[in-house]
Amino acid sequence: MAETPAEQVKRRQRKVLEVRNLRVHYETPTGDVIAVAGIDFDLYDGETLGLVGESGSGKSTAAYGILKLVQPPGRIVDGDVTLDGDELVHMSDSNFRQIRWTKLALIPQGAMNSLNPTMRVHRQITDAIEAHEGKQDKETLRERVLELFRMVGLPQRVYNMFPHELSGGMKQRVCIAMGIALHPTVVIADESTSALDVVVQRVVAQTMLRVKQALGVSMIMIGHDMGLMAQMVDRIAVMYAGKLVEVAPVETIFDEPMHPYSQVLIESIPSLKERKPLKITEGITHDPRNPPPGCIFQLRCPYVMERCRSDAPPLRELLARHEVACHLYNDDGSLIEDATMEAAS
């Protein structure tokens, strides 16, 4: 599928997934934990968006919200998710089941426990195919599965194996093969490489990218490995305490992170050349059941101002394709006058 650059640009401008004000809460005896506090973002055709943040920031919950897989006591409180023109959050379960996997697929942490231990590998791929396309001839299905195996670099012998007979990397490939089996529009990869060692991680990540490009799917990659993200994704969305604080193209965010949280996050990437303290430990986090008014990052922010304690900053597009939720910047992306950026150093 050779695309001319012009075609590609045009395709890249089409939104396939729009998330608006998505809120997911977990019910607890002492009040709702606000895991995802109203996030907005778009995913463009053929794009890879990286969703990053520390543990508990709500990145996985956001993904499971989009997939409508949030389990009780969690629930989607509010929001709209539009995939190719279909609104998903309010769609009935039986209608949404038709969309699952054909348009919206998940690549989980396959190295963990994502495969049914009592079913042979091929059957776990073909049951998804048959659930959406109806019963099929055994030989046809076999050909399709083996073709998927070739795409993700799995040997044929895996076909009849059980999950416990595979290595972590192989299980992850099985999950990738499963995810692309029905050529979905959007694939969400949830920490797909986190449980693997760095070498396998790299190889699997590359497989994922290659397959994604070959099929032209759009992808949301969830993870916390900034180094891996830098090489894999087109844009990065940084999440903190259930909110998106910055969304920007990957080069921009590594060169010039604008939100104070993104700055400390990127500064915290370890380096061989120098030993540096982990900046992010400064300050305390708030109780997720009862977030303070104003900015979500105020308790840890080195530049916190009076205004941050009362007004929550909205996510604004300050520079081209660069959205930030912070009071430090004017609408044109310049620093406001009384900002004291030296405080950081």
Binding site: Q98, P117, A128
Partner: protein
């Protein structure tokens, strides 16, 4: 690949033989260590009922010789081992001169028959209810109804049996009060006899099922909840598979594995019988036999029935072990 390996089979069979050997040894030692002497007791009993027994000592000595109790312990042990392995348990002390193995052979079909009907029912109903209790999509009224069926679980099966006899047999006269089949009938393969057998069997079966399935329901429900949280369940939902397919092929299929293990242990009741239920319904099974032999200190019968029960338990565990790799493909790895 999953499945049976020769190594796995050999290991299981060796464990099986060891179990049998250890149990025989324990039966042997317990009988010798236990206080009291069945022969003196028997003779004392006879003298109490008949007044005077002449030559008591000679009689006791004669019996001891007959049962080989004068041999040194190791000799007794080897003889004992050989006798048990050839199902030669000697004569019953009470029903003398009937052989213990004849008594067992007569009682066994009744217990096995009762067990073969009740156990599958208990396993099926218990697991079905457990699965439905835990399933997210089970209709609310059904979820509310199932726990109500379990109120009998805390009752002893005898009590349920007595209640059933009182209500359905004594008051409503729907079923016979006791006995395995109609009085005066001869066992045969006629419709009349078989329907009488079923008619007499319904109350004992029902009283066993109603008190037992609740434990299986609770076990299954617990496993279903554990399985619910597994990543493969989330992925199955994400794939958009039909909910019922996810229930049985992903959730129940994995949740039932420990239940199958428990079934192997429960298989023992096939042969051990349901001592009290058999007794109140005058069923002539192993349960009744064990009950009377313990009451009468009939050592040979106690040893014989114990051995048969142990042998059967060990065989059923072995069989379940051998079929387990077929239902849980991960198991055979253990043998490597």
């Amino acid at each position: 690949m999953g499945g049976l390996t020769l190594n796995y089979i050999i290991r299981r069979v060796v464990i099986f033989l060891l179990t049998i050997w250890v149990s025989i040894t324990i039966i042997f030692l317990v009988a010798r260590l236990a206080p009291g002497d069945p022969i003196s007791a028997m003779v004392a009993q006879a003298s109490a009922s008949m007044g005077v027994v002449e030559n008591q000592d000679a009689i006791i000595e004669g019996w001891k010789e007959y049962f080989g109790l004068n041999d040194p312990i190791p000799v007794q042990y080897v003889k004992f081992l050989g006798n048990l392995l050839t199902f030669n348990f000697g004569p019953s002390l009470i029903a003398f001169p009937a052989q213990v193995n004849e008594l067992i052979a007569r009682a066994l079909p009744w217990s096995i028959g009762l067990g073969l009907v009740t156990l599958p029912l208990i396993f099926f109903i218990g697991n079905l209810f457990g699965a439905l209790l835990a399933w997210r999509r089970t209709p609310g009224p059904l979820k509310a109804f199932i726990p109500m069926t379990m109120i009998f679980t805390s009752l002893p099966s005898v009590l349920a049996g007595l209640v059933f006899i009182f209500v359905f047999a004594f008051r409503m006269k729907l079923f016979p009060i006791s006995g395995p089949f109609g009085r005066g009938m001869q066992p045969s393969f006629t419709i009349e006899f078989i329907s009488s057998l079923i008619h007499h069997g319904i109350l004992p079966v029902a009283s066993l099922v109603i008190v037992s399935f609740g434990f299986w329901t609770l076990g299954m429900r617990g496993m279903m909840v554990t399985t619910e949280g597994e990543d493969y369940m989330t992925l199955a939902d994400a794939k958009g598979l039909p909910p019922f397919y996810v229930l049985y092929r992903y959730q129940v299929r994995n949740a039932i594995l420990p239940q199958v293990t428990a079934l192997a242990i429960a298989l023992r009741t096939l042969v051990a019988g349901q001592i009290l239920v058999e007794a109140i319904f005058s069923y002539r099974g192993i349960g009744t036999l064990i009950y009377t032999s313990i009451r009468n200190q009939d050592y040979n019968t106690i040893q014989g029935t114990s051995f048969v029960v142990i042998l059967f338990t060990a065989v059923s565990v072995l069989v379940i072990d051998l079929i387990y790799p077929l239902i849980d493909p991960r198991i055979s790895l253990e043998g490597n």
